[in-house]
C-alpha cells in the first residue's frame, strides 16, 4: 500500500471515530417503551378479542363470572373449570342467543362457540374477579367480506346495563396487525337514550402485501427480541477471527478469511433454520420444551467452543445443525398465528426474510469491531468474558427450560435491550482503539526519531513493522518542510501522551516473529500448507508469550 493512502487513512479514521461516536450516542440513547393502555374501569369488563383470518373471525370472550350469572341466570358456583364445563350447553345457548353478527347488508353470519374455560384476575380498581372464557367462530355467508360487519354482541350488557364490553382486534393478518391489540370500541348503555349501543366492526382495507410486510417486520422483531438466538450466533462467531492451534485459540487469521468464516457460519445457520421453520409452519409437530432446552444447549456448546476450540473448522456444520433447532422455535411463532393457505405461504417467506435481515444486521453491526478488536490484547479477556457470560446464561436457560426456574434465566430473559449495549460497548472499544492508534501514528510523525530516542523512558514505545514505515514517512515529510501539527496546550499534550503510552502498552502485544511461531510448533506448518502469510495476506501477531508459555 502506498504511503499517501496510509497517511490519508489516519485522517479518515479520525472522522470515522467521530462518526462512530455519534452512532454510539444514538445507540445508547435508544430506549424502547411498551406503550401502556389501561383506562380506569371500576367494575370488571367483558373483553371480546378478534383474530381475523381468511373468511373467518375468531372472537375470544372473557366474561366476568358475577355478571354472566346475573344476566343469564345460569348458576356457575365458584366458577371452577368443572362447574363451567357442567353448564357448557346452557352457556353456549345463552351466548348464541346474544351474539348474532350480520353483514352490513343484513345477512346473518354463522356462529359456533367452543373452548370454554374459566379463571380469575385483577384489574386496576376492580379487586379480584372470576371470569369465564370461550371462543366464538364467526363465518360470513359465502362471498361476503369478513372485514366489515355488525358485531351483534349483547351478551350480559342487554340485561346488566351498567356492564361494559370492550372489543379489540388482536390479529388481522391482511392489515398487518399481528402483535398489537387495537381497541375497536365499546358496547355499553347510552345513558341518555337508554339504548345499548351496537358496534360495527370495520377493519378497513387489507392486502396480501400489507400482511407480507408485517411478517417481515415480525421476523425482524423476533430476532431483535430473541436474546437466545442472537447469543448463539454471536457466541459462535466470537472465535471466527482466531486461529485454532493445538486446541487453543491463538493468533488471528486474515481479515478476508474471517469474513469468509463468518459468512459461512451465518449462511449455514440460515439454511438450517429455514428448513425447520418451513417444516414446522407447515404442520410438523414441534416439541416446544425440548426445542427450547436444545437452544440453550446450542448456546452452551458455542460458549465452550469460544473458550477452547472443540470443533475447529466445523463451525459451519454446527451452525447448520443447531440452525435446525432454532428454526423449530421460529416456527412456533407462525403456528401461533393460526394461518392457512396463501397467508401461510406469504408469512413463511416474509417471516424468514425478516429473520435473515435482522440476523444480517446484527452480524454487520458486530463484525467490524469484533475483527478490529481481535487484533488487540483486549480480545482475549473480551472473548473469555463473553463466552463465560453466554455459557452462564445458557446454563440458566437450560435449567429453567428443564423445569428449574432460576434467577440466572430471569436475568438473561431480561436482556432484550442489552444487545444494544453490547454493540455499543464493542463499537466504543473499537473507536477508542482506532482513535488512539491514529493519534499514535501522527505523534510518531511529529516526533523526530532522535529527539526522544527509543531508549528514553518518556518516549513512546519503539515501533516496528507498519509503524516504522509510517515513521519514516512522517520524517520524510517533516524534512521536506511540511507543517507538522503543534500542540496548543503542551501540558494537555503530555497528559494525552501518557494515557496513550499506557493504552498502547495494553493493546500492542510484543508479537512473535513468524519464525518463533513455526519454531514453537514445527508440525503446524506442515499441516497447514496454505499459510496465510504465504499468500501475502499476512497477519503478523499470533500468540502472546504468556499463552505460549502456558501451553509449553
Amino acid at each position: 500500500m502506498n504511503r499517501a493512502a496510509r497517511t490519508a487513512g489516519a485522517g479518515r479514521m479520525h472522522r470515522l471515530g467521530l462518526g462512530m461516536l455519534l452512532l454510539l450516542a444514538m445507540v445508547t440513547g435508544l430506549v424502547v417503551f411498551s406503550a401502556q393502555s389501561a383506562s380506569a374501569h371500576i367494575l370488571p369488563t367483558t373483553t371480546v378479542v378478534l383474530d381475523v383470518h381468511e373468511s373467518e373471525v375468531d372472537a375470544s370472550l372473557r366474561i366476568p363470572l358475577d355478571d354472566i350469572e346475573a344476566a343469564s341466570g345460569i348458576d356457575l358456583g365458584s366458577g371452577s373449570a368443572a362447574e363451567v364445563a357442567a353448564q357448557e350447553d346452557a352457556l353456549r345457548a345463552y351466548i348464541l342467543a346474544h351474539f348474532q353478527p350480520t353483514s352490513t347488508s343484513g345477512q346473518a353470519w354463522t356462529v359456533t362457540v367452543d373452548t370454554f374455560g374459566s379463571g380469575s384476575t385483577e384489574e386496576l380498581g376492580t379487586g379480584v374477579f372470576g371470569y369465564i372464557t370461550a371462543v366464538a367462530h364467526l363465518t360470513p355467508p359465502p362471498g361476503l367480506s369478513e372485514r366489515d360487519f355488525e358485531l351483534g354482541y349483547t351478551v350480559v350488557v342487554d340485561k346488566e346495563i351498567t356492564h361494559i364490553v370492550i372489543v379489540s382486534v388482536r390479529s388481522d393478518w391482511a392489515s398487518g396487525a399481528l402483535g398489537t391489540t387495537r381497541e375497536l370500541g365499546t358496547i355499553r348503555l347510552d345513558t341518555v337514550t337508554g339504548v345499548v349501543s351496537s358496534l360495527e366492526v370495520d377493519l378497513g382495507d387489507g392486502s396480501a402485501w400489507t400482511g407480507f410486510v408485517s411478517m417481515v417486520s415480525l421476523g425482524v422483531d423476533h430476532i431483535r427480541d430473541g436474546v437466545d438466538h442472537q447469543l448463539f450466533l454471536l457466541t459462535l462467531l466470537l472465535p471466527a477471527p482466531l486461529l485454532s492451534i493445538r486446541r487453543r485459540w491463538a493468533g488471528v487469521v486474515t481479515a478476508r478469511r474471517s469474513v469468509r468464516r463468518i459468512a459461512t457460519i451465518t449462511l449455514s445457520f440460515t439454511v438450517g433454520h429455514s428448513i425447520t421453520l418451513a417444516l414446522g409452519a407447515l404442520g410438523l409437530p414441534v416439541p416446544q420444551q425440548a426445542v427450547e432446552a436444545l437452544i440453550a444447549v446450542s448456546i452452551l456448546v458455542a460458549a465452550v467452543h469460544a473458550l477452547r476450540p472443540i470443533f475447529p473448522g466445523r463451525e459451519a456444520l454446527i451452525a447448520g445443525i443447531f440452525g435446525l433447532v432454532h428454526g423449530m422455535a421460529f416456527s412456533a411463532t407462525l403456528t401461533e398465528l393460526d394461518l392457512s393457505g396463501g397467508q401461510l405461504a406469504l408469512s413463511l417467506l416474509g417471516f424468514n426474510i425478516g429473520i435473515e435481515l435482522m440476523q444480517l444486521a446484527v452480524v454487520a453491526l458486530v463484525l467490524p469491531p469484533l475483527m478490529l478488536l481481535a487484533r488487540t490484547r483486549l480480545y482475549r479477556p473480551l472473548r473469555l468474558g463473553a463466552a463465560g457470560f453466554a455459557g452462564i446464561a445458557a446454563a440458566g436457560w437450560l435449567a429453567a427450560r428443564l423445569g428449574l426456574p432460576n434467577p440466572v434465566a430471569d436475568v438473561a430473559d431480561g436482556l432484550e435491550g442489552a444487545s444494544f449495549t453490547v454493540v455499543a460497548v464493542l463499537w466504543l472499544a473499537a473507536v477508542v482503539v482506532v482513535t488512539l492508534h491514529s493519534r499514535a501514528e501522527s505523534r510518531a510523525r511529529v516526533e523526530p526519531a532522535g529527539s526522544g530516542g527509543a531508549g528514553s523512558p518518556s518516549a513512546p514505545r519503539p515501533v516496528a513493522g507498519g509503524f516504522s514505515r509510517r515513521d519514516s514517512a512522517g520524517l520524510a515529510r517533516s524534512s521536506t518542510g511540511e507543517r507538522t501539527p503543534q500542540p496548543k496546550a503542551p501540558w494537555l499534550w503530555r497528559a494525552g501522551e501518557n494515557v496513550l503510552r499506557r493504552a498502547r502498552g495494553a493493546w500492542d502485544p510484543p508479537g512473535l516473529t513468524r519464525r518463533s511461531l513455526t519454531d514453537y510448533d514445527p508440525t503446524w506448518r506442515a499441516s497447514h500448507p496454505r499459510l496465510p502469510w504465504a499468500s501475502g495476506e499476512v497477519g503478523e501477531d499470533f500468540t502472546r508469550p504468556t499463552e505460549r508459555s502456558s501451553t509449553a
Binding site: 401502556q36 383506562s39 355499553r188 481479515a255 454487520a364 492508534h437
Partner: protein, 420 residues
C-alpha cells in the same frame, strides 16, 4: 529483538468494514428509533398536566363567608402549597374526580387530563356517549370516558398540611359541608377514618387520609366563579360558587368500604349509615304493587352516571312516580334525598331541599335487586326534574363483604351549570 506489531495490519479492511457497516447500523437503528420517537411524543403529552393557576390575588371576601374561610386557609399556606391548591376554573378540571383512590388514577388517566386541559377536547359524555368510538384514537390511548376518570385529582394532599393548616382547612370544610349529625362534615370525618382503616387492613398506602386532595378551581372570592373540590377514595365534594352564592353542590360522590360499623380514631364509625337507612326505609314503606312498579328490569352492577359520565342524564324517567305516594311515603322520599342534600352547609341545604320538595310529584323512585340494599347489584334511584341520586351495592375490593357507591347529581346545576 521482539517485534512490535501494529495493531492494525490491514487498515484497508477495517476502514472498509467500518464504513460499510454504518448504513447497516443506521437501518438497524431506524427500525428501533421509530418506536422510541413515538413513545417520546406520548410521554411529553403525559407530563403536560393542567396546572395553570390564576395568580391574581382576590379581594377579601365578606367575613364569615365560605370564600373568606377559603382565603383564610389559603393564607396559612406557603407559596408552593398555594400554587398546588389553586387551579383554573374549567370543566376539564372540575371533572377530575373519581371514586378510585388517587394511586389508581395515574398513567393513562394523566393523559386524559392533559388532553382535556390542553385542547378542551374532553369527551363530555353527553349525547355523544351514544356514538360508538370508531376506533382507537390516533395516540392509541383509550380514554377514561365513562367508568374511568379523566386523571388524577388536582390539589393539595391532606397529608401535606401542618396541624394549624389542617385546623384552618377543617373550619372551611365544616362550613362547606354542614352540621347534620351523621352527614356532611361528621360523615366525612368518619369517611377519612374508614380510609385509614383500609390502609391499615390490607389496602396499603394507596388508602388513608393522606390520599385526599383539596383544590380550589378559580380563586375564592365574592365575585366570579370558583369551585371547592375535596375528594379521595369514594368521596367527591364539588361546591361551585358564583358571586358568593352556591350555584351547584354536585356531582357529589359517596361510597364506603368498610360498610359496616368499625372502630377507628377513638370512635365508632359507620359513615353511610344515615343514607343507607333512609333508602331502606323508603323501599320498606312501599306496597307490593308500588314496588312492582318501582322495580327496574335490568341488572345494575354500578351506578349509571359514573365519574366522567357528565351531562348524560336519561331522557326518560323510570320507576314509580312519587305523586301517587302517601304523605308518609313522600316524607320517606324526601328524607332519602335529604341524606345527600344535608351534606352541604345547612342554609344552602334548606334552599335546595325545598326546591326538590317542590318537584317531588314529578320525581321517580326505582330499584333493582332486593329491597334490603345489602346484596351485590342491589340498586336504588331517585330521579326528578332536578335531583338524581343513585345508590348501588357492589362486591368488596379491599375487604370481604359488599359496599355501596352512590352519587348525587343535579340535572341543571351539576358543576354549577357549567357544561363546557
Amino acid at each position: 529483538m521482539p517485534k512490535t506489531t501494529p495493531f492494525l495490519d490491514t487498515p484497508s479492511l477495517s476502514r472498509r468494514a467500518l464504513l460499510g457497516s454504518i448504513p447497516v447500523a443506521a437501518l438497524f437503528l431506524a427500525g428501533c428509533s421509530t418506536t422510541a420517537a413515538s413513545t417520546a411524543t406520548a410521554t411529553s403529552t403525559a407530563t403536560a398536566i393542567p396546572t395553570a393557576a390564576p395568580a391574581a390575588p382576590a379581594a377579601p371576601a365578606a367575613p364569615g363567608s365560605i370564600a373568606a374561610l377559603a382565603q383564610a386557609f389559603q393564607a396559612t399556606l406557603s407559596t408552593d402549597q398555594q400554587a398546588t391548591l389553586v387551579h383554573e376554573y374549567t370543566l376539564a378540571n372540575a371533572e377530575l374526580w373519581s371514586n378510585l383512590p388517587q394511586g389508581l388514577l395515574g398513567g393513562s388517566g394523566g393523559m386524559g387530563g392533559a388532553g382535556g386541559a390542553g385542547g378542551g377536547a374532553m369527551p363530555s359524555g353527553a349525547p355523544g356517549g351514544s356514538t360508538i368510538p370508531s376506533g382507537a384514537p390516533a395516540g392509541g390511548m383509550t380514554g377514561g370516558q365513562g367508568t374511568g376518570s379523566a386523571g388524577p385529582r388536582l390539589g393539595l394532599s391532606l397529608g401535606d398540611l401542618s396541624d394549624s393548616q389542617l385546623a384552618s382547612f377543617n373550619a372551611l370544610l365544616a362550613a362547606v359541608t354542614g352540621s347534620t349529625a351523621g352527614l356532611g362534615y361528621d360523615e366525612i370525618q368518619q369517611h377519612l377514618n374508614a380510609d385509614d382503616y383500609l390502609e391499615a387492613n390490607g389496602g396499603g398506602s394507596d388508602y388513608g387520609r393522606a390520599n385526599f386532595y383539596i383544590s380550589f378551581l378559580g380563586a375564592p372570592s365574592d365575585t366570579g366563579m370558583w369551585e371547592f373540590q375535596f375528594g379521595g377514595h369514594h368521596l367527591a365534594v364539588a361546591n361551585t360558587y358564583n358571586n358568593a352564592t352556591l350555584v351547584g353542590a354536585t356531582p357529589a360522590f359517596r361510597g364506603i368500604e368498610p360498610f359496616s360499623a368499625f372502630d377507628g380514631n377513638g370512635r365508632t364509625n359507620q359513615p353511610l349509615a344515615v343514607k343507607a337507612a333512609a333508602f331502606t326505609a323508603l323501599l320498606a314503606g312501599l306496597t307490593t304493587d308500588q314496588l312492582a312498579t318501582a322495580k327496574l328490569g335490568s341488572v345494575y352492577s354500578d351506578i349509571v352516571l359514573t365519574p366522567g359520565n357528565d351531562w348524560a342524564f336519561p331522557t326518560a324517567h323510570e320507576g314509580l312516580q312519587v305523586s301517587v305516594l302517601s304523605d308518609t311515603q313522600k316524607a320517606l322520599v324526601l328524607a332519602a334525598i335529604a341524606g345527600y342534600v344535608n351534606d352541604i352547609a345547612d342554609a344552602d341545604a334548606a334552599t335546595i331541599l325545598s326546591k326538590y320538595q317542590g318537584e317531588l310529584a314529578d320525581t321517580y323512585v326505582a330499584y333493582s335487586g332486593t329491597t334490603a340494599l345489602t346484596e351485590q347489584n342491589d340498586y336504588v334511584r331517585i330521579d326528578g326534574p332536578s335531583v338524581w341520586i343513585e345508590y348501588s351495592m357492589q362486591h368488596g375490593i379491599v375487604l370481604a363483604g359488599n359496599h355501596p357507591h352512590s352519587v348525587w347529581r343535579d340535572r341543571t346545576t351539576d358543576y354549577g351549570g357549567t357544561k363546557a
